[in-house]
């Protein structure tokens, strides 16, 4: 079972304490109901109901704040009410959460067949993997072997968009695209998502043509995922390490790493698709080694202190300017934006340069651009995504030994 922490639009210290309680409550629920399927399903419904209530409260709070800055007193009053409501189910001290050991870890590569770091990382780990006498078993999975064979992102459908509830439960016919079938195979192998059988941690390896360094990407984060990120960010010094959160409604979560009880995608760049660069490969190797190192340490009982982490929450995307009839591009990413992922983009900043030489400026909120000029996103009508930067205060974490 897994605990979740929802990213919020606006982060305030007081608001965070409320959310931290939600996180702890969810963890408590999941631990208690670990041993019974029926209890499992009930817990999922409870979590969903809790999520719904939380989202409603968030919208209400933001609506008030848009009219005028609500006083701290109003915020504090609401926070106390939430604490009282959730006091039952509390487990342990407020400052720490416990999570079950990560006994089964899956490392996936080749989800996109032309993102070669992951493909070759898997081969290397398969060949050199020592018998893990440590605390977890490691499974390596070549997610999309057909796409790897032809060195293309996918053969029929983007595999990393095939893990929605709808596609995972779709009936299989002869006409079913290869990647949809493969997603269901992977779900049986690594999931099913939300079940007791799901592997504890899925790491899915990707590369990007965008200048993003090392990024961890997740739809839903647990303290496990947040602490994994914090550890990598502390240990990796050769490139920036950042966490990207995607706010996707539960049934629409589409990516492979979501199959596990905890899941992260590790994205490294810039690297052209179909190319393997030593510096980028080495960076990914370091990220994977550190992730496994953290897992071993966590399982062994290390207490990882909480703290503040900076995260980027994806809120929007921008397409290229296109010819309305042909849909062909009429501009490219402006040289002043190119390679400047995670640099604040302000209204009026150059965003595109047309093929005839005119500058087209960005119009919108001040946000952080990511995936700037990712080669695979031209067909997804995305020139870059836009994210909001927030600070999250995460609790300490340690393993809960099973009785």
């Amino acid at each position: 079972m897994w605990a979740r922490c929802h990213p919020w639009g606006k982060m305030r210290m007081n608001g965070f304490v409320r959310r931290c309680f939600y996180l702890r409550l969810t963890a408590a629920l999941t631990i208690e109901s670990a041993n019974a399927d029926s209890t499992l399903k009930r817990s999922r419904r409870e979590r969903k109901n809790t999520v719904g209530r939380e989202e409603e409260e968030e919208e209400e709070e933001e609506g008030k704040e848009e009219e005028e800055e609500k006083g701290e007193e109003e915020e504090e009053r609401r926070r106390r009410e939430d604490v009282e409501r959730r006091r039952g189910g509390r487990r342990g001290r407020m400052e720490r959460v416990w999570s079950r050991p990560l006994s089964r870890v899956a490392l996936c590569g080749g989800t996109h067949g032309n993102e070669l770091c992951g493909v070759y990382m898997l081969k290397e780990m398969q060949e050199t993997q020592q018998k893990r006498s440590g605390s977890f078993s490691l499974t390596t999975v070549l997610a999309n072997p057909r796409a790897v064979d032809v060195c293309r992102r996918y053969t029929e459908n983007d595999l990393n968009r095939c893990f929605t509830d709808a596609l995972l439960s779709a009936p299989i016919t002869e006409a079913t695209p290869y990647e949809v079938r493969r997603a269901q195979e992977l779900s049986a192998l690594l999931g099913p998502r939300g079940s007791e059988e799901a592997v504890d941690l899925v790491c899915d390896l990707h590369s990007t043509t965008a200048n993003m360094g090392v990024c961890l990407i997740s739809h839903l984060t647990s303290p496990v995922g947040l602490h994994l990120f914090k550890y990598l960010q502390e240990k990796i010094t050769s490139a920036p390490v950042r966490l990207i959160l995607l706010k996707t409604p539960l049934p629409e979560i589409y990516s492979l790493e979501s199959l596990g009880k905890h899941g992260i995608a590790i994205e490294v760049g810039p690297q052209p698709h179909g190319v393997l660069r030593a510096d980028v490969y080495n960076l990914m190797r370091e990220a994977v080694d550190r992730a496994l190192e953290w897992t071993e340490s966590f399982n062994s009982g290390t207490v990882f202190e909480g703290g503040e982490v900076e995260v980027y929450i994806v809120v929007d995307k921008k397409d290229y300017p296109r010819d309305p009839e042909t849909q062909q591009l009429t501009a490219a990413i402006h040289p002043q934006l190119q390679d400047n992922d995670f640099c604040l983009l302000k209204p009026g900043d150059p965003a595109f340069m047309s093929f005839s030489g005119e500058t087209i400026c960005y119009e919108g909120e001040e946000l952080y651009p990511i995936f700037v000029n990712e080669g695979a996103y031209y067909e997804k009508k995305t020139a870059f995504q836009l994210s909001r930067k927030e600070s999250l205060l995460i609790p300490s974490i340690s393993v809960k030994k099973e009785q």
């Binding site: 081969k123 043509t209 052209p272 179909g274 190319v275 660069r277 030593a278 040289p335 000029n373 080669g375």
Partner: protein
Amino acid sequence: MDSELVFLPPLRRVAICGGTHGNELTGVHVVRERLREEQRKAEEDEEEDDVVSVACVLTNPRAVQQCRRYTETDLNRCFTRAILSSAVSDRTPYEIVRSQELNSLLGPKGSAQAVDLVCDLHNTTANMGLCVIAYSDSDWFCLHIFKEAYSLDSLGKHGFALEIGPQPHGVVRSNIYTFMKTAVELTLEWVRLFNSGTVFEGGSVEVYTMVSNIDYPRERHTHNIMAVIHPKLQDQDFCLLHPKDPMFQTFSGDTLRYKGPEPLYAFFINECAYYEKGIALSLARQRCVAIPTIQMKSGLQHRGEEGTSEEED
């Protein structure tokens, strides 16, 4: 030789080609932009250029539409005389059918009807800057254009490829696009000046002549690569590679070194499309070629065979 004046016929018909490899996007967008510009001029009844006639051609539209290098076979290996004269059937690969169409349009290769100059636009993932790739060291047009400024460019009486990188395939970078567009404009400006009688002084140009290719170390049975270009060699195109210099790094971190007998210049280092061709990098010797002073003279014939190549890479 540089004091000798060589008279050459005018270059009246020039073809600018893009999308020969469908995922090398700079050429695609340069050609599209030029076609848009031509359409605009036609709509506004602007005078046509009477010094040079320029045709812009998207050579592999199917590959462009799919954003792939090719659909069935590499178009830029389909211009040998054997392939150009082969019989076409329902099973003929698209690119072979297309190469014969292009040969009718821009050639026929080696004939008097062929366009005077073909300029074919390409990208590479290698850090090569802007390269002029020609197949003869005595094609004075190509060398003068470079000096100021098997394959498709062999269709014309004279031809060269403009290769620019680094750019990932399937991506268009604005600075690379601007660079290529400027290079094409400078090429055409040179042609206009030449056709107008300008004397272009001879001199000496540095050229790199390919000597050999080196493949990645590969597993014997699976043919999978076992190492990548070493970080010290990555992006160092046109730097001299000495014997014992690091060349590859294995996935376990070991260094493999260059074992050739002589120092050579490495280029096309880690070109994506060459993994399947068994090429990790190419090696070249550098030398200086003396080129004569040239001037246009009407009434002369182009030597259609000059500078063309029968051989594939």
